[in-house]
């Protein structure tokens, strides 16, 4: 075993002695290690299915190898451009529109002097985070209902015709992103608000003496202070560029908005579990994972170059 704690290299016998002395610590590690091996690492060898004509009877090792056939089939398929476009559009829209809101909210909350008022607003802002996906989607369907929904009632009042929101492929991304901002904005602001509390008070006082306005203090002191947090969150988000929250998409899909709502992960589910095309489904999923990892690494490299902060 290599020594990783930066201490001088010790002979193996010393290392073994230390392990034996603290054997109980290793026992504490066991549940997590066993769980991870059985439920996370063991299924990974199933990725091989993407390169073979998998049959359950013959198993992963017995099935016939087909190389990159499934990937070729995927690139030529009718749905591939659609699911790729939808996944990217929804994801980027979510990133561009959703990312700034929690930061703005945290900056605003940080300026409030009345603690009671601030914490009340914060409590309210967390509420949507605790509502389940099924209920959120149920609420969306109720509010947007063409016959009884409050949004269409409002449009009718203004003399407009009812809009069939959920049947409209082009509207899907907006519904997804806007309701997503509503649900996560308050919760996501916690981390920025926490980072703001670590801003050096002396700096702010010095700025006061120099006659800086509130906006100047926000721009030149608060914002730079939370920049590392912002960058970290941004990289993490980039690493999920192809992983749109499928649970919500899945529940909001209708047959008529499918052209605008089918994304990679829902397609993986349909092909895999509904049509039982195991190999094809695994191939799509593998492609998804690879792209995510590549984007994460690129985002991390770029960020290290530009801001000198990175995840790894």
């Amino acid at each position: 075993m290599t020594n990783v704690q930066g201490r001088a290299k010790r002979p193996a016998s010393v290392v073994w002695k230390s392990i034996l002395k603290h054997w109980q610590l290793y026992v504490l590690l066991l549940p997590a290690i066993i769980y991870t091996i059985i439920f996370a690492y063991k299924p990974m060898y199933g990725i091989l299915m993407a390169f073979e004509d998998f049959s359950i009877k013959r198993g992963v090792w017995g099935s016939e190898w087909v190389g990159f056939d499934h990937f070729a089939r995927l690139f030529k398929s009718y749905w591939f451009p659609i699911i790729l476009k939808n996944t990217l559009v929804i994801s980027l829209l979510n990133l561009i529109l959703g990312f700034p809101f929690p930061i703005i909210l945290a900056l605003l909350l940080n300026e409030v002097k009345n603690t009671k008022f601030r914490s009340t607003i914060q409590t309210i802002s967390y509420a949507p985070h605790f509502i389940s996906t099924a209920v959120i989607c149920g609420m969306i369907l109720l509010f947007l209902s063409p016959s009884n929904g409050i949004i269409n009632k409002f449009l009718n009042m203004l003399g407009q015709e009812s809009v069939f929101f959920m049947q409209h492929a082009g509207m899907f991304k907006w519904i997804y992103v806007i309701t997503g901002i509503w649900q996560t904005m308050g919760w996501s602001s916690i981390i920025y608000f926490a980072a703001l509390s670590s801003v050096d008070k002396a700096l702010l006082e010095a700025a006061d003496i120099d006659g800086a306005t509130r906006m100047q203090k926000i721009r030149f002191i608060n914002l730079p202070a939370i920049l590392p947090t912002i960058v970290t969150m941004l990289i993490l988000q980039c690493g999920r560029i192809l992983s749109v929250g499928y649970e919500k998409v899945f529940l909001l899909q209708t047959d008529t908005n499918l052209v605008g709502s089918e994304i990679i992960s829902t397609y993986v589910y349909k092909v895999g579990l509904e049509q039982s095309d195991f190999s094809f489904s695994t191939a799509i999923n593998l492609l998804n994972t690879v792209v995510n990892c590549v984007v994460l690494i690129i985002a991390n490299k770029l960020s290290k170059k530009i801001t000198k902060t990175g995840l790894f």
């Binding site: 610590l25 997590a32 802002s125 063409p146």
Partner: protein
């Protein structure tokens, strides 16, 4: 003009503007929730005709009376409580033991172990291999998998580990060692009692996720009597679509009946949302201090 400029730049004006913006924001966050509660207590016809603005119109408990008789809701509630309580206990055991061991200097190969866990955050076998894995273990359609599935969230484990590293003074652990306390004893009798905030955060993170989850149940469960609440919510809220196209092709009387049924179905949906979401809405404000702290711990070294 000069005094106006001064006023704009004044602290009082700034505070007022911010308060107004935040109040508007709070209203947008709360209004949909209040609307749902009010709609669940109003006559269906009042809601569909757009009379409901904020407070219930033509107060009725009809929806709730119907929900109380709906057996699925209670089966789902029972299962969800079972999965949430037992599942969260499993989560705590697996997560806290691992996090504590990884927080200790003495453990060899810590960096390799961290990589071993963190890889699983970014790479997974995917839906199908995981499904076949669960199947090969004989855990398909079992309550056992609903409880042990997702036993470890690596992110939560890192949050707990960061807490142990930063908030438990090394001197206390050293002192316990000198007093002859074993590693097990130190963890159970000294570290855990000092980590109440951390444990609370973990319970909240895992508990909320378990309470709200439906996807695993949809994939791994077949029997309706094992379904958690969220699965029944999905059936009631999402899948009971009453087609309005069908209503158009009917005679006036049939259409009217159909519309009434649709209104009634909506009333039940509002009631179901309230019944299923109320526990969370009551609990989370009490835990606000804890999870704000938890996010901070996790944010320091994510």
């Amino acid at each position: 003009m000069k005094s106006f400029k001064k006023f704009i730049r004044s602290d009082k004006f700034f505070q007022t503007v911010i308060s107004v913006i935040l109040c508007v924001f709070a209203v947008t966050q709360l209004y949909p929730l209040i609307y749902v509660v009010s709609a669940s207590l109003s006559a269906p016809s009042a809601v569909s005709s757009g009379k409901l603005v904020l407070f219930p119109v033509d107060f009725t408990l009809e929806g709730y009376e119907y929900i109380l008789q709906h057996k699925d809701i209670w089966i789902g509630y029972g299962n969800t409580i079972l999965y949430t309580v037992l599942g969260t206990i499993v989560n705590l055991i697996v997560t806290l033991t691992c996090a504590y061991a990884l927080s200790r200097e003495e453990v060899e190969g810590k960096k390799i172990l961290m990589i071993f866990f963190m890889i699983t955050m970014y790479i997974s076998g995917g839906l199908i291999p995981e499904y076949l894995n669960v199947k090969s273990l004989g855990l398909l359609n079992t309550r056992t998998y609903m409880i042990i599935g997702g036993a470890l969230s690596v992110y939560n484990m890192i949050v707990a580990r960061t807490f142990f590293v930063n908030s438990i003074p090394n001197e206390i652990i050293e002192a316990a060692k000198i007093d002859g306390c074993s590693d097990f004893g130190t963890f159970l009798k000294i570290v855990l009692p000092l980590s109440k905030a951390c444990v609370a955060v973990q319970i909240l993170y895992y508990g909320v996720a378990r309470w709200n989850a439906y996807f695993n149940a949809m994939i791994y469960l077949d029997d309706r009597d094992k379904y958690p609440l969220q699965m029944f919510l999905r059936e009631i809220l999402i899948q009971s679509k009453i087609s309005m196209d069908a209503a158009m092709a009917m005679t006036a009387e049939e259409a009217k009946l159909m519309a009434e049924m649709a209104e009634r179905a909506d009333l039940m949906k509002y009631c179901v949302i309230v019944v299923s979401t109320l526990p969370m809405m009551i609990i989370y404000p009490k835990l606000q201090k804890f999870f704000e702290k938890g996010v901070m711990i996790g944010g320091v070294k994510g």
